[in-house]
Symmetry: C2
Subunit: 400 residues, 2 copies
């Protein structure tokens, strides 16, 4: 038995429901009966090994592009000293097939579409999610339809259309109005329009929790810091650990760290101010362009979870984000600006004593730096200009 349950008041809906949120706007999650008895089993892919934790009746390997199985790496001295945290690990989701964490959620969407016999899957996106869904649609032969706002960058549209997605660019007074109008179209078209916080994508993000469980030999970290926008990623990760706890496979839950840009912090501001509802942001600008949901639907769940489970929340100022992006690169990782926020947040929380000296922290590297070249215009960069006559003396100076 599987169903959708709303995350705050427990409203129940059928698993097949098209709409991504409860009628009252709450986030939905999948409840699978018997998860307490679920066990990992041998398998090549993470979704094969943890199939008993997933709600899909069949999962066809031919839908996979080789997502997941991403490295968990010691962050090294430079990042540890910057953050002030000695047990610092990086979960590098940029090593997914479309170079962001979105691929795990897209795989789950394809499993769902296949099970429901749907020929089309739709989304609203400015970037990573649209690219990912386009790739997975191409892989599985399911038509991908991406609604994009006017400001979506040309490179990202090119990636989507290269994959054969149908891209509809919708002119509108603002992105929120565009989203509302588009999401309302599901009914007439019987179209599943997935958002970044739907119950099915969230099932895909659980896989990261299962991988961390394997990579850390069953011992969850103390904290996991996640750049947060639509909220699907952070709640999927946490749901995975909740289910591992319910199954008796771990003895405690990690605490999540909700991270947003200070210029757009609808969840983090609410948590810090101790209120129960998302504080909408509009007309903001941030370099962290992959986390620009100003009024995330279903975001109240995250605020409630933070309170219930002792999560932390922190934001990052624009200059800090750019500095952290550079520090990440100087340690070996070229991440997108949205990802860089987690380093700022953990540094602040450690400095404030909210994270302890001996605590272990995992930073989620959500997207590749190459995805967001626009943000680099804010970074200075220096090249030594030389020529055949001067290269010897220029090298000499460079080596000093």
């Amino acid at each position: 038995m599987r169903k959708l349950v709303s995350t705050l008041t427990g409203l129940e809906y059928p698993f097949e429901r098209f709409e991504e949120f409860a009628d009252n706007g709450e986030a939905l999650e999948v409840a699978v009966a018997g998860v307490e008895e679920a066990r990992p089993r041998p398998g090549r892919h993470i979704w094969e090994r943890f199939a008993e934790f997933l709600p899909f009746k069949a999962m066809d390997a031919s839908a996979s592009l080789g997502e997941g199985n991403t490295p968990l790496v010691d962050a090294g001295g430079r990042l540890k000293s910057f953050a002030g945290v000695n047990r610092l690990l990086l979960k590098n989701e940029t090593q997914n097939p479309t170079w962001s964490f979105k691929d795990r959620g897209s795989l789950a969407c394809i499993f769902m579409a296949q099970e429901m016999g749907e020929r089309t899957t739709a989304t609203i996106s400015t970037g990573n999610m649209g690219h990912s869904i386009a790739a997975y649609g191409a892989r599985s032969g399911i038509k991908a339809l991406v609604f994009v706002p006017e400001f979506a960058p040309r490179e990202k549209l090119m990636a989507m259309t290269m994959h054969g997605a149908t891209v509809i660019r919708v002119r509108a007074p603002d992105y929120a109005a565009m989203k509302k109008e588009v999401l309302g179209l599901w009914k007439d078209f019987k179209l599943r329009i997935v958002s970044g916080n739907g119950p099915i994508r969230t099932e895909g993000y659980k896989l990261t929790a299962f991988e961390l469980f394997e990579q850390l030999q069953g011992e969850p970290p103390d904290y996991i810091a996640v750049p947060t926008s639509a909220c699907g990623h952070i709640r999927g990760l946490f749901k995975g650990f909740r289910e591992l706890l319910a199954a008796g496979l771990i003895g405690r839950l990690p605490r999540m760290i909700v991270v947003q840009a200070a210029n757009n912090s609808p969840i983090v501001s609410a948590i810090k101010q101790g209120v129960k509802h998302v504080i909408p942001f509009s007309n903001f600008h941030t370099v962290a362009e992959a986390i620009t949901t100003g009024n995330p639907m279903g975001g109240d769940e995250i605020i409630a979870k933070a309170s219930e489970h002792g999560w932390l929340a922190e934001d990052a100022a624009e200059a800090e984000i750019l500095e952290a992006q550079r520090v990440f690169a100087e340690a070996g990782w070229f991440v997108e600006s949205a990802t860089a926020t987690v380093l700022c947040a953990v540094r602040r929380l450690r400095a404030a004593g909210r994270i302890g000296a001996g605590d272990s922290v995992v930073l989620m590297l959500t997207g590749a730096g190459l995805k967001d070249l626009d943000a680099l215009k804010h970074q200075s960069f220096n090249v030594i200009e030389s020529n055949l006559d001067n290269v010897r003396s220029d090298l000499e100076r460079a080596l000093l």
Copy 2:
């Protein structure tokens, strides 16, 4: 005992040699005594499991960025029918830390620098290799120095400098003259300047062969198609299989498929024409910008190996490359244009009957499409322009 041996006439040099080629210009490779007795052993990383096959005395996990462990995926119906090959697999090296195959070679360079106590590692690059070395230098605290030609794209310089590399842009009449001058600098500065075809990087590319061995349960594929420029990748892959054969772990070698753009095919032309020496190309243009070495040093080895081992060689025309890049994307993989050449080549070879109907073929996906956005200007792309009033009717038409 370990030494460097030239690949055609067997000249011997010490392992520590700074220069990447023999005095007569031949490619060098590492010979490790006792490889016949080498065995895989348990370990987390591929270089730990195959340590007995590698020449380094110590390999420090803290130099790793989490390279390798990339997926080997069934190519799916679209690519199989396009290529005319039923047993078609993709080894996706774009899921490495800097999103190209270069990371395996860079790791080997860092192991070497650490063992030799070198504080600086240098390279000449227009893109992927410079980016990769910059990242690995940042990770290990070894200064990365990248010499770039005038035409190196700005985005790639930004990635290198973000990682803290020192970038020297050398104006010169042509890239070959610039390379020659820069490589000559090693002596005065006792500087290891690595090329794409040096013996140490090649040891890193062996790791891909070992992974394929593991992923295919000890049964090598019939063919492996590799976009070929400097030649280090293809010979590293093959060297890995040669050593597995010498150790008695496999019963036969795969045959390599050397692939180049027709507009720049110094190796493929030589093999096709049955001559023994590289046919230099200059003043060419190809969209496959990651494989633009017109006169690869040490390339004669590849021609000899092709003859000795029955390798295949094929080139790809410009229009074919762009078509194949689109076909790859329509199957789920957004690869750089240089990578797309392998699909054209395999299609041609199958059509000509050089590859058999039942043969298994692995395509090496060497670099991410995001690395080479310039090439996309040749691709058409189509977006449906809509607005809030028309989005319903536009969707209706899009779903027809």
